[in-house]
């Protein structure tokens, strides 16, 4: 079984989602190649060579792929992918943007958000915001999958011993062009790979108060997340959103503060190992799935937690 994984990166660093994707691919076969499509992305190619079990890194390093736009990117992936049994990406916004376009070019189906590999052609994936699980069987010769990264542990990089093959085909994009990007800068771990997440909801009442969360997050080495309600209210940027339509996370510890627990939000975090809920409404649905609940005023509890943690570490 020949497997092609599309690396996720920003031309500088290889994203963790790729490590999770490789981990899932290992359930399907041993012949794994990784495509790094970008511009001036030699560093990423080197990193990809160190992914375990990867035989070959295909390096499509050309200015036309700088922003990895779907229009020419999918054309290249389809061109290369037709020689494989599987083409796999992480179920991230970049994988979700690219892979369906590849599927249509190859006239095959795509199976998204795979959480379990049942057999070579059968996969489980959540539907209805995780309120049901579907087990589905792919019938096309080439199987296109996007992997729910939280469902598969990340592989560790070893030594950079995979071979490198240069892809010289530069497909121009005459349909779209990159204009600008505004990325949230943060010293904290990324939401999707953080071990601990501190997440805030509408209960925080303002963007100003969201800083209280950050104080707690700093002491726990945690990433900061938010509910849709908090993002819609402008308390936090959109890429903080955890939920069905935001990021799906499964950290060791998820602390939900001032979050009532709409189905939409639960869909994005219910696979966390330990869930803590802090809310002044004892009836909030979040308590139904929380391992530990504290009912009370978060503006009193938060500073107290910070104090307690400072005691522990003092």
């Amino acid at each position: 079984m020949k497997i092609l994984i599309i690396a996720e990166h920003d031309n500088q660093a290889l994203k963790q989602s790729t490590h999770h994707t490789v981990s899932a691919a290992r359930h399907l076969g041993e012949e794994i190649d990784v495509l790094v499509m970008g511009s001036q992305c030699q560093k990423v190619v080197e990193k990809a060579r160190a992914l375990p079990q990867v035989k070959k890194v295909l390096a499509a390093d050309d200015a036309v792929y700088e922003h990895q736009l779907a229009e020419n990117g999918a054309a290249l992936v389809a061109e290369i992918g037709k020689h494989y049994d599987y083409v796999i990406t992480g179920a991230t916004t970049s994988g979700k943007n690219l892979l369906p376009r590849v599927a249509a070019l190859l006239d095959v189906a795509m199976i998204g958000d795979v959480t379990e590999i049942v057999s070579a052609d059968t996969f489980a994936r959540p539907i209805y915001a995780g309120n049901a699980m579907a087990t589905v069987q792919a019938t096309d010769n080439i199987k296109l999958l996007s992997i729910r990264t939280t469902a598969f542990p990340a592989v560790k990089e070893g030594s950079a011993d995979a071979a490198v093959e240069k892809i010289s085909q530069a497909i121009a994009n005459n349909l779209s062009r990159f204009e600008s990007q505004s990325l949230t800068k943060s010293e904290r771990p990324e939401l999707t790979s953080a071990r601990v997440i501190v997440s805030g909801g509408r209960g925080l009442k303002s963007a100003e108060n969201f800083k209280l969360l950050e104080e707690l997050a700093d002491r726990l080495g945690a990433a900061v997340g938010a509910s849709r309600a908090a993002v819609d209210a402008g308390f936090a940027p959109n890429d903080y959103q955890v939920g069905q339509t935001g990021k799906v996370v499964a950290p060791d510890l998820y602390i939900a503060i001032g979050i009532s627990g709409a189905i939409q939000h639960l869909a994005g975090m219910k696979d966390s190992k330990i869930i803590v809920a802090i809310n002044n409404d004892a009836e909030a649905p979040i308590f139904q799935i929380a391992d530990y609940g504290l009912v009370g005023d978060l503006f009193k509890i938060l500073p107290e937690m910070v104090q307690e943690l400072d005691k522990v570490h003092a």
Partner: protein, 248 residues
């Protein structure tokens, strides 16, 4: 500029999801159905473009059984000019839906197609991208802002690390994210008016599209339940327990 929007009839986002006891799917009889929320945003965006004078006509399309007429009437009440029901009783998967929409887009010479980024039933998030590929058009997925210019669109997209803005040449395909707009409340006069707007029905077969499912559903099951834990009285107790669990 002509705009085509696709609208899917799905189980209402507030309805409780029950898996059928035979594992064949999710119960949809006697369950409240409504327009997929992302598609509502798509219709709203099209109507706003028309109100700004940027669009001349909005055509709403739905694929499914007769009951989808209700969803189309909602789109008409929001401001779409006419509607097309592509009638079929079989399950239409994303690739087949994209082929149907591609055929209609060509037939109608629509310059812009706006779709929800995903339907909240199957959660696939594929049809828009597939449609763009089939039509060889640029795609602006997960849009949170759309600005029309002389020869194209500026689309701001919600991506994992923040936001990205792309310029798409027209004709194009856009899929909507939650923050693109807030769909309007439908007034009674507009509901009445929608009843007289044209709604035509075509069969999927008449579009010469291969609808054969490429993915077989083996079973649908309820997710593992997570039990409620314990209520704690103090922050100190919480911190202690988290330490014991070795997560902090």
């Amino acid at each position: 500029m002509k705009i085509l929007v696709s609208v899917k009839r799905v189980v209402d986002y507030k309805a409780v999801i029950r898996v059928k006891s035979d594992g064949s799917g999710v119960e949809t009889t006697n369950v409240k159905m409504s327009m997929n929320p992302f598609d509502e945003i798509a219709v709203e965006e099209a109507v706003r473009l028309k109100e700004k004078g940027a669009a001349t006509e909005i055509i709403a399309v739905s694929i499914g059984g007769d009951s989808c007429q209700e969803t189309l009437r909602t789109a008409l009440a929001m401001g779409a000019d006419r509607a097309i029901l592509v009638k079929t009783d079989v399950e239409v998967q994303p690739l087949a839906a994209a082929k149907i929409l591609a055929a209609l887009t060509n037939q109608e010479s629509a310059d812009l197609v706006i779709l929800g980024k995903q339907a909240i039933d199957s959660d696939n998030n594929q049809t828009g991208q597939m449609l763009a590929a089939l039509l060889d058009r640029p795609q602006g997925t997960f849009a949170s802002k759309v600005e029309l210019h002389d020869n194209g669109l500026s689309v701001t997209r919600e991506i994992d690390g923040g936001l990205e803005t792309l310029f798409l040449n027209l004709p194009a395909v856009v899929t909507t994210d939650l923050r693109l707009n807030e769909p309007r409340y439908i007034s009674l006069p507009n509901i009445v008016k929608a009843k007289t707007k044209p709604l035509t029905t075509v069969t999927a077969e008449s579009l010469n599209v291969d609808l054969a499912p490429r993915v077989k559903t083996v079973k649908v099951s309820a997710p593992q339940k997570r039990g409620a834990g314990v209520r704690l009285e103090s922050v100190a107790d919480l911190i202690n327990r988290l330490k014991q669990a070795q997560v902090i």
